[in-house]
């Protein structure tokens, strides 16, 4: 037993003994005992009252000294209180820091609860979406009413971000991304992408304008070259350079045309409807085109596992197939083989072009669809004339417009397979 409890017990015993003794002198032992206990009880009550008034009083800093067990109780309570206060201060400082951090965040952050009501938002979000402080607790779709955003917000899962026009200025663009946060809350991240939008727009316009401007002088040059080449009096030593010039200007023309085509594809994003396309006709056209290329592989096969057609834009589908086939022909030796296959399953429609060329090293595959990207070592050019470096970029954009995707598999030295997948909704029966 701790010493102070022993002391406390000793005191009670002494008090009882004193009370009993004084009572005994008058022959009333019990009465004396009772009076002594009463005095003890009142004494304890006085301390209890002091504790109460201290705890409820305003001046908490003034600590009653206490006596005996009470001193201990008082100091213990005071200690706990001070510790709680220190912790509270630390916690407050932490919250303040976090607040400051989110406030100075350049991107907008909005926290939404499970009924899509605004819980908190930072300064950037307020400025971009036009929120006021009083807007906490409002449903976000009541303030950000853009139909695209509302659709995105109500979707079950938000995998991709959505780009919307700013509710405040129609020519500003915001990229919104919703991520799950906490138990049932969601965090909306908003970024101002107006600048990127402008740059993208300018780039597209530039490419389209530049290609247009290049076309006119090129037509003049090819025209005159043709006239010179047709001239029977052309001296023999000039014949070869003129032929080469014709070939190169042809190539340049193709390049400009493809650049234009690409910028056209980029300018009209979003899915296209289109009409029924007969895949057999498309593939046969691509085969004939490939055969016309110099150094075309001996065998170009086409396999039809499906008689279904595809709903899409004929021009786009043709350029997808032609580009893939001519690419394969260009990088496959004359002894090699190309197989074009068309099939449909429940998962969608597929078109694959397999070649027995030299293959592509895996590190190049992710960048293959970039414009003008060239594989330096793995995929040397076999044919004399290379492509323009835009073919696969066109394929990718045309596929995107049809909701499709491109899959590339390749093994060095064995060959490559380019597979296009179209959504099942685009399959239509050939009549």
């Amino acid at each position: 037993m701790p010493r102070f409890w022993q002391q406390a017990l000793l005191r009670v015993a002494l008090l009882a003994a004193a009370g009993g003794a004084i009572g005994g002198l008058y022959g009333e032992v019990w009465l004396g005992l009772f009076a002594a206990m009463l005095v003890g009880l009142v004494y304890q009550l006085v301390w209890l009252a002091r504790l109460d008034s201290w705890l409820n009083g305003e001046d908490l800093a003034f600590l009653p000294e206490g006596e005996g067990v009470w001193a201990r109780v008082f100091s213990r309570i005071d200690y706990l209180r001070q510790r709680a206060r220190r912790r509270g201060k630390r916690f407050k400082a932490l919250v303040k820091q976090l607040r400051q951090a989110t406030r100075s965040f350049p991107d907008g952050v909005v926290i939404l609860n499970d009924s899509r009501e605004i819980v908190v938002f930072n300064q950037a979000a307020g400025a971009m979406l036009g929120f006021k402080n009083q807007d906490r607790g409002l449903r976000i779709e009541n303030l950000v009413r853009n139909p695209d955003f509302v659709k995105y917000l109500r979707a079950k899962e938000q995998s991709q971000a959505v780009e919307i026009q700013s509710p405040l200025q129609p020519d500003a663009w915001l990229l919104c991304h919703i991520v799950p946060y906490g138990l049932s809350q969601k965090m909306l991240l908003v970024r101002d992408v107006t600048q990127q939008h402008k740059i993208e727009h300018m780039r597209r316009d530039f490419v389209a304008n530049a290609s247009h401007e290049l076309r006119t002088p090129l037509t003049v040059i090819t025209g005159y070259l043709e006239a010179i080449a047709d001239d029977p009096q052309l001296s023999a030593e000039l014949r070869a350079p003129v032929d080469e010039m014709q070939k190169q200007s042809q190539r340049m023309r193709q390049l400009v045309d493809e650049l234009l085509r690409l910028s056209e594809l980029e300018a009209e994003p979003g899915a296209v409807g289109g009409t029924r396309v007969d895949m057999r006709a498309v593939i046969e056209t691509a085969r004939q085109e490939a055969r016309a290329l110099p150094d075309c592989p001996a065998t170009v096969e086409s396999v039809y596992d499906s008689e279904q057609g595809l709903r899409g834009v004929r021009k786009d589908i043709q350029s997808i197939v032609s580009n893939l086939v001519s690419n394969a022909a260009r990088y496959t030796p004359p002894t090699g083989k190309i197989v074009i296959r068309w099939w449909t399953t429940e998962a969608g429609a597929f078109l694959s072009v397999r070649d027995t060329g030299r293959g592509i090293a895996s590190e190049h595959i992710p960048r293959l669809c970039e414009r003008f990207y060239r594989v330096e070592n793995g995929r040397e050019r076999i044919g004399g004339e290379g492509g323009t470096g835009l073919g696969l970029a066109i394929v990718r954009h045309a596929l995107l417009r049809h909701g499709g995707s491109l899959n590339i598999e390749s093994t060095l030295g064995v060959g490559s397979t380019f597979t296009c997948q179209f959504p099942a909704s685009r399959i239509v029966a050939v009549d």
Partner: protein, 243 residues
């Protein structure tokens, strides 16, 4: 965390119904805002396809109006709302009528845009029309925001704004008449332009109406057909009482 005015029902379900009614109105508002933005864009960038797209999307606006109307009827019948709740339902029923009209005007502008796109573009690319449209679009946006926030003061600002829009409309129609007199060959085109301006001016009026419903909804005061000074006085007085 429902808004204060409507958040005190015993029935949680009723609260949710009212909240989702408000959301539906916002959804409709968002759709209408987009229709108007696209219609203006179609005129300015001479994009006939976009104009026709706007015209064909008007069906969506009409459909959502019918849905909200039915929902209001259902709430009136089953919940028998009183006071602020009743005012909300009444305001919603009126506001969606105006929104639907705005949708119709946007559709008209879309069709006009498709027609104007086939004609010669003026050098200023319909600058005045664009200014008017931006103004009207702001009004509509602010009116819908005021509806979401139940903010009578913001609504009052929209009501005041309508005067400026009317003046701008007068200016455009005067300009159109002058241009038509100068060169009668352009009459056809400038008739279309002044029709578009007229549609925009009407949209401004509808946005003003929506703001007036907001004032009615928040303060229970009908401020239609009242002088603007009197309206402001009323709003300020009501604000003092509410505070």
């Amino acid at each position: 965390m429902e808004s204060e005015i409507f958040g005190q029902h015993i029935s949680r379900k009723f609260n949710e119904e009212l909240e989702s009614l408000r959301s539906q109105v916002s959804t409709m508002g968002g759709l209408v805002e987009r229709q108007l933005t696209d219609a203006i864009e179609a005129i300015v960038s001479a994009d006939s396809q976009l104009g026709l797209q706007v015209a064909s999307r008007d069906v969506q606006v009409n459909q959502i109006e019918v849905e909200i109307d039915e929902e209001c009827g259902r709430i009136l019948a089953t919940r028998a709302p009183a006071a602020a709740d009743l005012r909300l339902i009444v305001a919603v029923i009126k506001a969606i009528t105006d929104l639907e009209r705005i949708g119709d005007e946007a559709q008209r502008i879309g069709i006009l845009a498709a027609r104007l796109a086939t004609e010669k573009q003026p050098a200023d690319r319909y600058d005045e029309l664009k200014t008017l449209a931006d103004h009207v679009l702001d009004m509509l946006h602010d009116a819908l925001d005021a509806f979401s926030r139940l903010d009578a003061e913001d609504a009052l600002k929209v009501v005041e704004e309508d005067k400026i829009v009317d003046e701008e409309y007068d200016m455009i129609s005067r300009q159109c008449i002058t241009l038509m007199m100068e060169d009668p060959r352009t009459i056809h085109r400038f008739m279309d332009v002044s029709w578009a301006a007229r549609a925009l001016e009407r949209i401004g009026d509808h946005a003003k109406n929506i703001s007036e419903y907001v004032i009615y909804l928040v303060q229970g005061k009908d401020v239609r057909h009242t002088q603007i000074e009197a309206v402001r006085e009323q709003v300020e007085r009501a604000n003092k009482i509410l505070k």
